[in-house]
């Protein structure tokens, strides 16, 4: 344990980024841990146990820093790590009246039940269809919009448009769905003007067949504008000299976009694609809950809502927890795999090893 911490903690030291004082310097030269000599040379503190002296010294030096991280670590411990342990209910026949310690253990029975449940697979299918659809019809929009904005030469116009398109990201899903309801709903603006002009009213907000389009347009309205911020940052990092050189070599507008702009965006695109793929199983949870009454469960059931309705609403806690745990583990596997693939293609990915 001690050596493990030592080794991990000293990794950043090797590149010299964190050499804040002289005391830590000798450590980088002795990979086996600090010797008595190092410690004494550094601070003159008598080191009683050979291996712990350095640690103790560093703790004394950094204790206020460690103390500062404590509230966040405690909050995460309680509200992120404790629930991870709480997943044991997936292996039980949990009843809230008996509690986790006394509920009977059933092994993997819940998992076999979930995996044999057609409703579960229906939710999986819906989730994946929505993810795939949004990958095609949502993902490229911020990229295109960012390139379009970047091509504007008037900085004030650009800033003004940016300010407008970022805005809906800060609205809640309730608000976004409400706005759509007012515009496209049965009594909304669109149908109001259709009827006024003698046309048939259109059924948009409650039609399960077109729900996929509705979901995606809501997502685009809310988040496509915000999505450009990362691409704009990447675009501004492209050296203008590259464009200049390409132009001198006779590359036109489209050639420059293809050979300079898009390669400049490549690593950001890959990074966001990984994040999206890792999140494949998470789609518009609040959107679904808000519109479930309108379009029905058939079209709006995704994995998260499946877990919520079977667990919290119907009280089948263990069953829902098993479904949730499957989702969490598959998501973890997905993001690790996506990242691995990114490394193979020479991109840095979400984390680097």
């Amino acid at each position: 344990m001690t050596t493990g911490t030592e080794r991990q903690a000293s990794v950043p030291l090797q590149d010299g980024a964190g050499t804040r004082t002289n005391e830590t310097l000798p450590k980088t030269t002795t990979p086996g841990g600090p010797s008595r000599m190092d410690v004494q040379a550094a601070g003159g503190v008598p080191a009683s146990p050979r291996t712990r002296g350095g640690l103790r010294l560093r703790f004394r030096r950094d204790r206020s820093l460690v103390l500062m991280t404590l509230p966040a670590v405690i909050l995460l411990g309680v509200f992120a790590y404790l629930p991870m342990l709480g997943n044991v209910v997936a292996f039980q026949d949990y009843s809230p009246y008996i509690g986790i310690p006394d509920s009977p253990w059933v092994g993997t029975e819940n998992f076999t039940r979930v995996l044999a449940d057609p409703d579960f697979w229906h939710a999986v299918q819906n989730t994946l269809v929505i993810t795939a659809f949004q990958l095609v019809f949502f993902f490229p929009i911020p990229i295109a919009l960012a390139m379009l904005l970047n091509s504007l030469v008037n900085p004030r116009l650009r800033a003004a448009i940016q300010a407008v398109v970022y805005l809906p990201h800060f609205f809640s899903w309730v608000l976004v769905v409400s706005v759509f309801q007012q515009i496209f709903g049965g009594a909304g603006l669109l149908n109001q003007s259709l009827r006024a002009n003698g046309f048939q009213a259109m059924d948009i907000m409650t039609n399960p067949d077109t729900f996929l389009f509705l979901l995606t347009s809501q997502a685009v309205w809310k988040d496509a504008g915000w999505g450009i911020i990362v691409f704009l940052a990447a675009l501004s990092a492209i050296d203008p000299a590259q464009y200049e050189a390409a132009a001198v070599d006779g590359a036109g507008r489209w050639k420059r976009m293809w050979h300079v702009t898009l390669p400049g965006l490549r690593s950001v695109i890959v990074l966001l694609l990984i994040l999206r793929l890792g999140d494949s199983l998470t789609v518009g949870f609040e959107q679904m809950i808000l519109q479930r009454d309108a379009v029905g469960a058939e079209a709006s059931e995704v994995l998260d809502t499946f877990v919520y309705y079977t667990g919290v609403q119907n009280g089948d806690w263990s069953y829902a927890a098993a479904a949730g745990l499957i989702k969490g583990l598959v998501s973890l596997a997905l993001i690790l795999t996506a990242n691995k693939v990114a490394h193979i293609f020479g991109e840095s990915g979400v984390y680097s090893k």
Binding site: P96, A247, K327
Partner: protein, 314 residues
């Protein structure tokens, strides 16, 4: 960015036809009329798609009953203006209480989140400090694996937080992503400044409050906005953890009035000069928007800075 403009303006003064826009670099040819028109149309559609719905909703909320009836629903052309809808929903009752709950949770929650996050980000801003890497790992793991709805619900109910405002604050109190952005910014602060503070005898706490924080106003404002918006917009946590309708935040009330068709109190007595149903609904929507519209312009200009640093250093 600044290099582009400076270069461009330098070249205008020397050998550029005056007709061109000054910001366009020399090597970039002026786009054709069709391309320009296309760009204009696309951007106009985008801006309209965002602002159009907001315009008609705000306008309807401040229109009188007669104007709304005449328009047949949502109002596009300003008619008679009336603030009856706001008077009605803000003079006590469900919506007023929901606004108070939301404001309270947002203010208290954001304050708590900011204190915890800034402390944690500063505590982790020095690679090589004691237990730095293990603590960072504890944070990062939660970005890759989350426990799920069921265990989280069981925990909150096990802690006895159901039907308390704590349930709206504590589970969503820290966002690791925000901490990483803050940490990235703190790490970018010149080490010389911090070292000289230390030599002058300043403790870490003092360095943080008197040197680091004043230097990080922009990023702190952005993160505070992120947290504040998160609390203000929180909907599902309230659905999950709050059963007492008197404790509902505004988003839940908005849902029941606008999406679930529950009638807004006062909506029925149309004949008595009270505000019309649509106006009341719109007024609730606008109330849910207003705080964001107020804070957003102040913070918006710092976005690129804050998010960019997070992206680079994170």
């Amino acid at each position: 960015m600044s290099t582009i403009t400076s270069k461009a303006s330098a070249s205008t003064s020397t050998a550029r036809p005056p007709r061109l826009k000054p910001e366009r670099p020399v090597w970039d040819e002026e786009p054709g009329t069709v391309a320009k028109a296309g760009k204009f149309v696309v951007l106009a559609v985008v801006v309209l798609a965002v602002l159009g719905p907001l315009y008609t909703i705000v306008l309807t909320s401040i229109s009188s009953q007669a104007t709304i009836t005449q328009a047949g629903g949502l109002v596009l052309v300003p008619g008679e203006i009336s603030f009856a809808a706001y008077q009605q929903i803000l003079s006590g009752g469900v919506v007023t209480r929901a606004v108070l709950v939301s404001v309270g949770v947002t203010v208290a929650g954001t304050a708590l989140s900011m204190v915890v996050s800034i402390l944690c980000a500063y505590g982790l801003s020095r690679p090589g400090s004691f237990a730095h890497t293990p603590i960072l790992f504890i944070l990062l793991i939660t970005m890759f694996f989350s426990a799920g709805i069921i265990p989280s619900y069981l925990l909150v109910s096990g802690l006895g937080l159901i039907n308390t405002y704590w349930a709206l604050v504590l589970p969503s109190c820290i966002s690791v992503f925000n901490i990483i952005i803050l940490r990235g910014f703190f790490m970018g602060i010149d080490r010389g400044i911090l070292d000289s503070a230390r030599i002058d005898g300043a403790s870490e706490w003092r360095t943080l409050t008197q040197i680091v924080l004043p230097m990080s106003k922009a990023v702190t404002a952005v993160i505070a906005l992120f947290y504040g918006v998160g609390y203000w917009n929180a909907f599902f946590n309230a659905v999950l953890y709050i059963n007492d309708s008197a404790m509902n935040p505004l988003q839940v009330v908005l849902r029941s009035y606008v999406l679930q068709g529950v009638s807004v109190p006062g909506q029925v007595d149309v004949g008595t000069g009270a505000a019309a149903g649509p106006a009341l609904q719109m007024a609730v929507i606008v109330l849910a928007m207003v705080p964001i519209l107020m804070v957003y312009p102040l913070v918006q200009k710092h976005f690129t800075k804050g998010v960019m640093i997070g992206a680079v250093k994170g």
